[in-house]
């Protein structure tokens, strides 16, 4: 049995006249302890899937089954605790007037967990920040440190499934590697299951065993990271995405233009 099963997930925005199917019948499943990556370009619906699974958006159709239990739009406190999310922009996801201590203690209070002091200290240790960070404000932290706090806030509730929405795209490459290492270590230490969303194929292939490629609300391809590395992908859209991610190639651009001319003519 899969740890997380998503079946025929549909999310629509807009009214009857301008309905936009942001997610249009997506199905995939993730085994326990696995890391699954969703890649795609902006607007393909990848983040919308995370918001439906996390419970942030209740207006979805289809099935989301976590550890054998079908999730409703309304969740129990225990269900919320098992699924935690890390957001893209650590400048926007932390309350600017709360100290690190307040940010990390709030979920503990909501879920009625004891030993807040000890848990906050351990959460800071886990993400490689010392206890001296405890009474700082977000503006006193660098981007990488803020994202570590956002990760600590997700991990402090001891979730089983962690949803990562572009966790490093607001960071430079040298900071990105530090944050990705923290996530790799935490997954291994705690046997976590990850669902990672990114537009960066390199990040997804590095972090995940399996990869789903999305386009315009649909999953166009499911494959494993090894197949992407080996270039053993034939789906034309995915192929183009992989080639473009490798860098600039004038011949490639000309080839696409020629294809588009054909398509237009």
């Amino acid at each position: 049995m899969s740890f997380l099963a998503v079946r025929d997930l549909r999310v629509a925005f807009g009214g009857p006249d301008d309905r936009n199917m942001a997610v249009d019948g997506v199905s995939f499943s993730i085994a326990e302890g696995e890391a699954y990556g969703l890649v795609g370009e902006s607007g393909c619906g990848k983040s919308t899937i995370l918001r439906a699974i996390s419970g942030l958006n209740a207006a979805w159709h289809g099935d989301i089954v976590l550890e054998g239990t079908a999730l409703d739009a309304r969740r129990t406190l225990a269900q919320y605790r098992r699924t935690q999310m890390v957001f893209q922009d650590p400048y926007a996801s932390l309350h600017p007037r709360h100290t690190v201590d307040a940010i990390l203690s709030e979920p503990l209070a909501i879920h009625g967990l004891d030993d807040a002091h000890g848990r906050v200290d351990r959460a800071l240790d886990q993400v490689g920040l010392g206890r001296e960070f405890r009474f700082r404000y977000p503006h006193q932290l660098s981007g990488g440190q803020r994202q570590r706090i956002a990760i600590a806030r997700a991990m402090i509730l001891e979730p089983r499934l962690v949803l990562l929405d572009e966790p490093t795209s607001a960071l430079g490459v040298s900071i990105q590697s530090e944050v990705l290492n923290v996530l790799t270590d935490l997954r291994r230490a705690n046997g976590l299951t990850y669902l990672l969303v990114s537009h960066d194929l390199g990040v997804v292939a590095h972090m995940c065993e399996r990869v789903g490629v999305m386009r315009q609300g649909r999953l166009v391809l499911e494959t494993d990271a090894a197949a992407i590395r080996a270039g053993a992908v034939t789906d034309p859209y995915t192929r183009r995405f992989i080639d473009a991610s490798a860098g600039y190639d004038r011949a490639m651009a000309l080839r696409w233009d020629a294809l588009e001319e054909e398509g237009a003519g």
């Binding site: 990705l180 290492n181 292939a205 590095h206 473009a244 490798a246 000309l254």
Partner: protein, 277 residues
């Protein structure tokens, strides 16, 4: 190569409540009819370098240099009035996100035509024809339809094509592009870069391409300058970036996740205070 743009010993300093920040520390380079990339992380001074050339640094910045010259003209001695002529006409700039660079309440075609009219004596009709022609050159398929759109009606990739059209219509000698494709999807990015690439080659203009993306710069540009903490720490041919020697460049290259070399953990860049000497 004969440089069109020459910068020597450029410094930019600005005052903050916590004291003076020395953002650019003695940078020097030349740009000929080629694509020169400036690559570095946020805060390395790469954008400030681009802005200092055009004298559009934020209020409170102090710029000094031994030389900033465009051909034979010394830009350090240029009056503010002369700089207004130079901006756009001789040196143009493309910024990251077209949504913030275009006027939201003006049709995109009129904005491009205006960019021509500012620098040329011409009728409105002629400017319109020029703008339409420029739209074709940046491979906008239906120039007449796009001309009448407002910025919110165009996609990011289309917006950046419009920006390129607007910046190139006065036929500048140098184009400074500051992260021109960072807001675009990778497949759109390739096509926008191909347009820039062709225009640079065909018109023989010099491109200063500012980016945080080493991979992109090494595949798109001819030469690369790597900036760290306000200095150029490495300068090489783009094709040789793989073999960069400075530990900072090496560290950046190694900390990137790579499709061809999977690793359990990524090497972390260790910054050496000696790099600041």
């Amino acid at each position: 190569m004969e440089p069109i743009l020459e910068v020597r010993d450029l410094h930019v300093r600005f005052a903050t409540p916590r004291g003076e920040v020395h953002a650019v520390r003695g940078v020097g380079f030349g740009v000929g009819r080629e694509k020169v990339g400036i690559v570095g992380e946020s805060g390395s001074g790469k954008s400030m370098t681009g802005r200092a050339i055009l004298r559009i640094t934020p209020r409170g910045c102090r710029t000094s240099a031994a030389r900033i010259a465009l051909g034979a003209e010394n830009l350090l001695a240029a009056s503010e009035r002369r700089m207004r002529e130079i901006r756009g006409r001789r040196v143009s700039m493309i910024l990251q996100d077209p949504r913030f660079s275009l006027n939201p309440v003006m049709r995109v075609g009129d904005q491009v035509a205006e960019s021509y009219l500012v620098h040329h004596r011409a009728s409105k009709r002629e400017a319109r024809e020029r703008a339409l022609d420029m739209f074709s050159q940046v491979r906008i398929r239906e120039p007449r339809r796009v001309y009448d759109l407002y910025p919110h009606e165009v996609s990011g990739g289309m917006g950046q094509r419009i920006m390129i059209a607007m910046m190139l219509i006065p036929e500048p000698a140098i184009l400074i592009a500051d992260e021109p494709t960072s807001a675009l999807d990778v497949t759109v990015r390739t096509q926008v870069l191909a347009i820039l690439d062709d225009l640079v080659t065909r018109r023989g203009l010099g491109l200063l391409f500012i980016s945080h993306d080493l991979n992109l710069v090494s595949t798109f540009c001819d030469r690369v300058l790597v900036m760290y903490a306000g200095r150029i720490v490495e300068e090489c041919l783009a094709a040789d970036l793989e073999n960069a020697r400075h530990p900072y460049t090496r560290g950046l290259l190694e900390s990137m996740p790579r499709l061809d070399a999977p690793r359990e953990r990524l090497p972390v860049l260790k910054r050496d205070p000696a790099w600041l000497e």
